[in-house]
Assembly symmetry: C2
Homo-oligomer: 502 residues x 2
């Protein structure tokens, strides 16, 4: 089956256009050969197959394939037609009505019942599916039918072939190391009184010992990487409203993993009296009642950490000589609704990350990523003495939109750093404990940031997840400072005393 | 009007108790003089005014005043009555039914229509109000009527006399200082490119310059106060579930200012497909639909910062010699739904704070607070050179439960640090930029933390709000390092270059 659009619509006119019938007929015949074929391969333009004058309007039926789509054809016709009617007959075109709009598209398997905005009906037909749309003039102008088609094509592709596989290609691998420790570091840290589970899902409270380790990792990143490479610290916001995720692309797919944030509908104490009274009498928090009294979600908790940075440069033009711009943030927590069950510190709902962001021309961004890779290699080999590898994977900015495969911008993509966790055994899954991403022009384009020279801007980011570093390091080295590499031990200092319990 | 309880209830029996009529009559006459008067002043006990045998039950009507409340009387009667019936007649008591339960209480003004759990009707009567309750056996046992009464008495008090005023009593005041700067520091910081508004309400993005200032404040607190006084750093969670606020007392009143957090009902991608499709077609986030697809709020964003710490020590007994325990956290943001309108950095919805917590005997906690006050005085006088004062105010732990006045535990309470903001003029409101609180036994008791020796534990906390420090300091000193005190200037170093825009 070929892609096929069928639109029955009308140009509403300011007066009865019957007197212009011959001119209209002539124009339509002409348009079928010119306006509606422009840009399409021979014989594959759109075509007005029927037309008539009905009251104060000109009704047309347009059929098309993929090249000049019926809704684009309708828009293309409007202005020249208005010209003909206006000049000679003083009749204006008041607007466009869409009476019927169907799209037929190929699909090998049937699609289950799904609800798409502006789609009133989906039927499985021979060799494909047929969509019936309910759209008006503004939807045509905003190319809603194209968005619907793209979405449906994605769905059909996923259904027909399954998703493209996650990409994974090894780039570098350290030598294999003898691990003297084979325990689960989370269990060990709990046993030693370094951490306790928090009251919420996938959340930990860190005692003085664990906190010292996190701060040591952070200081290593500061002293060995951020300061020598000239990164400047900023403070990125941690509550992320939709606007940010719309521009960053996360609004396309991140919903299953977000902790949503809803504000109270009002601060008026009287409005909340019922909730307070309920609590004081029952000592139970009336969560159902509260859900009624809070507003719709305004966004969610920090998920990817760098998107809120971009509001700082949004819509701005930056002097050419100021690039590359290199900044970082370590001002708060990130939160993900992770899959259920009890996990250790390697998979948490609330975590701490140093987020590194850079911005410049393509060459600058690639060179900056290279510098980072070198520093990380130094840290993981000479200071933490880890067994690890790195791999070129599906970019995170695609994964977080629900996409797989690789970026179309060849040199854009994500490098994951992975480490074996000895307690998982020889064939156990390695842990991604770090990444470096070149995000192409995605963010400068999404947030409309320009370089003074007019050159295209690219950006990159790299997340240092402290829970992940701790999981990799303590899984390989254990908790006893005796077994830590000297370079780490001297930076960590004496492990502080924890809080003791009887 | 005197407080008056009237309960009509029944003891359900395992067989017809008619045969035991005389024994019951004798017991009730006796109980009216003994069981139901115990602990009450002469003549003010509860009284069974009527009783009868109806099918398999003994119905009683109990009247009482405030001392032996009718619902307590009912509970008191059960066991001895069961003894009499069991021994001689082999009849058991199966449970308690409450058929009618009213409370009459004094009030000078009428109460508006309010909804209280287990209260079916509230009527204004001569000299007071009358509550009709719908309760069962378990509510009697859980003393729900007492909680309802307490709540109503609070409401009546608030209505009759208005709330007690906020307490404020000056403790210390610096000398008046000449301020050479009179600008609004937030405006100035925006103009100089130090900060920009974030995308969410009351939220800022801090550029390298402002971030350096925050980190300098933080380092001053670390080097001048936390390290010399032996505080250990911890990492407190930042998503706060109800359980924590139930124990900390915040669940009694904090609702109007919380940013609520709701998880997705499931991570199943199919469940979210409709939302994703809607976004991809319309480019609008369907917040109404999302609200249907998320769960009830599980809690909220960090509000007071120290409550989640207490889950670490909850239910534990700690060796006597380990006290005082002194810890701090600076691992993330706090969020409050502040009153509307545009504010500067002195009142924000998202802010950064170093939270200091200590725990020990009453004497230790008071002495620890004193040490802190001394260090703060050193910092504000010798390093920041501020004009400031401190005052004894309504404790924050009371204010956050909607209470006013002062703590009943005499030496417990909050000291606020306040600074004038010259741009607000001579009579402008001073800014609370810091506090030190002695919280009495509230937290150790709420979270059930014990000292090995059995001595009562107290605790304290002190929040260093970096936005507040910045608002006070830059309001008095301005942004030009030339006008900063030398001790601050040398710690801040050269102000880093910001991100430049054309």
């Amino acid at each position: 089956m070929e892609l096929k659009f069928n639109l029955k619509g009308a140009f509403k006119t300011s007066a009865d256009p019957s007197g212009a019938k011959d001119v209209i007929a002539q124009y339509i015949a002409e348009a079928n050969e010119t306006t509606l074929t422009k840009g399409a391969p021979e014989g594959q333009g759109a075509k007005i197959t029927e037309w008539s004058i009905v009251e104060n309007s000109i009704e047309v039926t347009i059929e098309s394939g993929r090249f000049v789509r019926a809704h684009d054809a309708m828009i293309r016709l409007r202005k020249p037609l208005a010209g003909k009617l206006g000049k000679e007959f003083h009749i204006g075109i008041r607007g466009i009505d869409v009476k019927e709009f169907t799209i037929e598209m190929p699909a090998e398997e049937e699609l289950d019942n799904i609800r798409i905005p502006h789609v009133t009906n989906i039927t499985n037909v021979e060799g494909g599916i047929k969509l019936e749309l309910e759209v008006g003039e503004s939807e045509l102008e905003n190319r809603i039918p194209d968005r619907i088609l793209t979405l449906m094509e994605e769905k059909v592709k996923a259904k027909d072939y399954g998703g493209k596989a996650e990409h994974w290609q090894i780039l570098w691998e350290s030598e294999k190391k003898e691990h003297t420790f084979h325990g689960d570091p989370t269990q060990e840290m709990m046993k030693e009184g370094w951490i306790k589970r928090g009251a919420s899902r996938g959340q930990w409270i860190h005692g003085p010992q664990s906190t010292r380790m996190f701060r040591t990792f952070e200081r290593i990143v500061l002293e060995e990487l951020l300061e020598p490479l000239g990164y400047r610290e900023m403070i990125f916001p941690k509550l992320v409203p939709w606007e940010v995720w719309q521009k960053s692309g996360h609004a396309k797919g991140v919903y299953p993993e977000i902790y949503y944030v809803c504000p109270p509908k009002t601060r008026d104490p009287e409005y909340w009296e019922e909730v307070i009274d309920h609590y004081k009498v029952t000592h139970e928090v009336p969560t159902e009642l509260i859900k009624e009294k809070i507003g719709e979600p305004i966004g969610g908790l920090c998920y990817a950490q760098c998107p809120p940075f971009w509001m700082y440069v949004q819509g701005e033009t930056i002097p050419t000589e100021d690039f590359p711009i290199k900044v970082f943030d370590r001002s708060g927590t990130s939160h993900r609704y992770e899959s259920g069950g009890i996990h250790g510190m390697e998979r948490v709902d609330e975590f701490h990350r140093v987020e590194i962001v850079w911005l410049g021309t393509k060459e600058q961004v690639i060179a900056t990523a290279k510098e980072l890779h070198e520093k990380y290699m130094h840290i993981f080999n000479e200071i933490l003495d880890l067994e690890w590898r790195k791999a070129w994977v599906t970019p995170w900015f695609m994964a977080q939109e629900g996409l797989t495969g690789l970026s179309e911008q060849g040199e854009a993509g994500t490098t994951d750093y992975e480490a074996p966790l000895p307690y998982r055994g020889e064939d156990g899954e390695w842990l991604e404990f770090q990444n470096v991403s070149i995000n192409g022009n995605k963010y400068p384009s999404g947030f409309n940031v320009k370089c003074q020279s007019g050159e295209e801007l690219w950006s990159g980011c790299s997340g240092v997840g402290l829970e992940r570093w701790a999981s990799a390091f303590f899984a390989q080295k254990g908790l006893d400072p005796e077994n830590w590499p000297e370079e780490f031990r001297k930076r960590a200092g004496k492990v502080p005393e924890g809080i003791n319990f009887l």
